[in-house]
């Protein structure tokens, strides 16, 4: 009941006209980013952080969150209409969405994607409301030792689940952790790996790394390919038949459950829930031969899972202050830049921000449902933008967006350098997600360990007196062991931009 009252309070904040407008703009921008191939949600959220400089912290976070889940909606449009996923989580939608479009059923595919996404996103947000207070209250009771152990579990999940192999995950995870160490040591105040450069005393910013790795890296990789665009002939009516609606009920329900459950686990990434959801529907179907030929279940399930995942991934950030995906890691960076610390204290110290944002998640899902379907012809027109124009515009926005953070050319140079790193990692098929996640987790880990040791007076045996921490350490070891035994995978998990 308390949660419902606080949610109502959140609605009074979120429904203020300027906050509503901000959410609308964010949803529009997010859908646009999702529609345009070449910039995924990570780079988009990072790139648009400077645009929120003139806003209040709540408005800035509301806009960035709206962009985040807006991209999930937008990516579907290109998957269905031109067989090119706007972002990686929408890749599986191409399998049945595009065949539906070729049969003149694009409207039905887009409709079920929008409705399924709305249901998945809303259910995940309702779950956030239910668990927010109890989990954050529990989190307030646990000490730095348990938090340290939790970050170790988070790291093991990120390294073990992301990408094609544990080894590659560990490499990029350790790179992220090392990058996070650059700057002044938080306890002793000594510079670490700053090479005498004052710009590095605060370390690398989240924006240059995110835009470079995920934005420029993607563009550099695409420069090596010839880009062609195909267009679907017509969208058709935006309505499903009764049979299609009935056939979608089960997939939407299952997609919600799958996306939600996996969204709680750091490192999974948004691609895995969509593939798993698709595979399960195909397995459960009495007519599996229809999959790949335009089965509506093949669109309903992954799109629902996608959005349920995106909203559920916010839960660990809100309740524990642990990011579960690279985009959420960038969102956390935005929180920190606005002087807010996501986690259990956010509900206590800034309830207007916490509950205002949660309420805006509901509102955003409604906006996206209403917005997307009528605006499809506009998105289709945008897709006809020549690729060189898209790339040159994105490059300029990357430069100006990165520069605008602190007025530093060094950040622009860093972004380009990270773009080269991102390109190289992609060529070697290393997952990028662990690098982004450990960039945020690393300082949390260090801070909590040092706090623990201060409390313990430097006695490492202190951990033996914390059974919850020991259990979490054991869990981390099991995760790494299972990941190591599994060996290299052909289908990567977690290696997406979301």
């Amino acid at each position: 009941m308390e949660a419902l009252q606080l949610l109502l309070y959140g609605f009074t904040v979120a429904l203020q006209p300027d906050n509503l407008l901000i959410a609308f703009i964010g949803c529009l921008a997010g859908t646009l980013v999702g529609v345009l191939p070449g910039v995924g949600p990570v780079a988009a959220v990072a790139l648009l952080i400077p645009f929120t400089a003139a806003l209040t912290p709540l408005q800035g976070i509301v806009m960035l969150a709206a962009i985040y889940y807006g991209t999930q909606y937008g990516g579907t449009i290109t998957s269905v209409l031109i067989n090119v996923p706007g972002e990686s989580a929408s890749a599986v939608t191409c399998l049945d969405g595009y065949p539906m479009a070729r049969k003149g059923r694009a409207g039905a595919a887009l409709a079920i994607a929008a409705i399924g996404s709305f249901i998945g996103g809303t259910v995940a947000t309702m779950a956030l409301v239910l668990v927010a207070l109890p989990v954050s209250a529990l989190a307030l009771k646990i000490g730095p030792a348990e938090f340290f152990a939790l970050t170790v579990v988070g790291l093991s999940l990120v390294a073990g689940l992301a990408g094609k192999s544990l080894v590659r995950g560990l490499i990029t995870a350790s790179l992220g952790l090392l990058v996070a160490m650059i700057g002044l040591d938080p306890a002793q105040g000594v510079p670490r790996f700053s090479f005498g450069r004052p710009e590095l005393l605060d370390g690398f910013g989240v924006v240059p790394i995110a835009v470079g790795l995920f934005g420029l890296g993607e563009i550099f990789a695409n420069l090596e390919k010839k880009v062609t665009t195909a267009y679907a002939s017509r969208i058709g009516p935006l309505m499903m038949s009764r049979e299609e609606a009935r056939a979608s009920v089960g997939p939407v329900a299952r997609g919600t459950a799958i996306g939600f459950s996996l969204g709680l686990i750091p490192g999974i990434g948004s691609v895995a829930p969509t593939f798993i959801s698709y595979a399960i529907e195909r397995r459960l179907s009495k007519t599996p031969h229809r999959f790949g030929q335009g089965a509506i279940e093949g669109v309903a399930a992954p799109e629902t899972a996608n959005n349920a995942f995106a909203n559920a991934a916010l839960i660990p950030m809100f309740t524990l202050g642990i990011p579960s995906s690279p985009t959420v890691a960038v969102l956390m960076g935005a929180f920190l830049m606005n002087g807010l610390t996501p986690g259990p204290f956010l509900f206590k110290e800034h309830p207007d921000v916490a509950w205002g944002l949660i309420a805006s998640l509901y509102i955003g899902n409604v906006i996206l449902l209403i917005l997307n379907l009528p605006l499809i012809p506009i998105w289709v027109r945008l897709l006809r933008t020549p690729y060189p124009i898209m790339v040159s515009t994105i490059l300029v926005l990357s430069v100006v967006g990165t520069y605008a953070i602190s007025g530093s050319v060094f950040d622009v140079a860093a972004m380009i350098g990270w773009g080269v790193v991102g390109y190289t990692l992609k060529k070697l098929e290393f997952p990028l997600a662990p690098l982004m996640l450990t960039l945020i987790l690393g300082p949390l880990m260090e801070r909590n360990l040092r706090s623990t040791m201060q409390l313990a007076g430097g006695d490492w045996a202190f951990f033996l007196e914390r059974p919850a921490a020991l259990v979490l350490f054991a869990l981390a070891a099991v995760i790494l062991f299972v990941s190591a035994r599994r060996g290299p995978k052909t289908v990567p998990l977690g290696d997406s931009g979301a």
Binding site: V167, L170, E224, S392, T393, A404, I416, E429, M453, P488
Partner: protein
């Protein structure tokens, strides 16, 4: 596949060298204090993980790459041109200002990516540079460099 293997070896070497360098630098910081980890503790541990993981990667059985690693020649040259253009932005943005630097960047990128319609190139570049400057300067109140000529 052969170029992927070569790239792999180069990457392992770079990562191992990086890890060793970081480990050596970290060991010059305090590793342990009386009350727990020092400034060099975590960098040393993560550097060790990086080195061990990189060497293990060398022996990992190859997963077939989803894309051919050897880029087509036109692809590489486009990439190099765009990289050079971006590097030039870093050097020139303060002396020449944002507007002219981004104008140049866009023209180079559009031509490098195969656009040949000169009016469209110029319009796109102008809107993308002067337009974005106006957006940031007048709407978002973000100051961008104007260069030594004040343009």
């Amino acid at each position: 596949m052969r170029s992927v293997v070569t790239l792999k070896h180069a990457a392992v070497l770079a990562l191992v060298v990086l890890g060793i360098y970081i480990g050596v630098e970290a060991s010059k910081l305090r590793i342990l204090l009386a009350i727990g980890p020092g400034a060099g503790f975590f960098p040393l541990i993560f550097a060790a993980v990086l080195v061990i993981a990189s060497i293990s990667y060398l022996f990992e059985r190859p997963v077939a790459p989803s894309e051919v690693a050897t880029p087509a020649i036109w692809g590489s040259s486009r990439l190099l041109v765009v990289l050079a253009a971006l590097a030039s932005v870093v050097v020139l943005i303060n002396p020449l200002g944002f507007r002219f630097t981004s104008l140049g960047l866009q023209i180079v990128v559009l031509v490098a990516l195969g656009m040949r319609n000169i009016p469209l190139i110029l319009v796109t570049a102008f809107v993308g540079s002067f337009g974005i400057y106006s957006l940031f300067d007048e709407v978002l109140n973000v100051r961008l460099p104007i260069g030594m000529f004040g343009l």
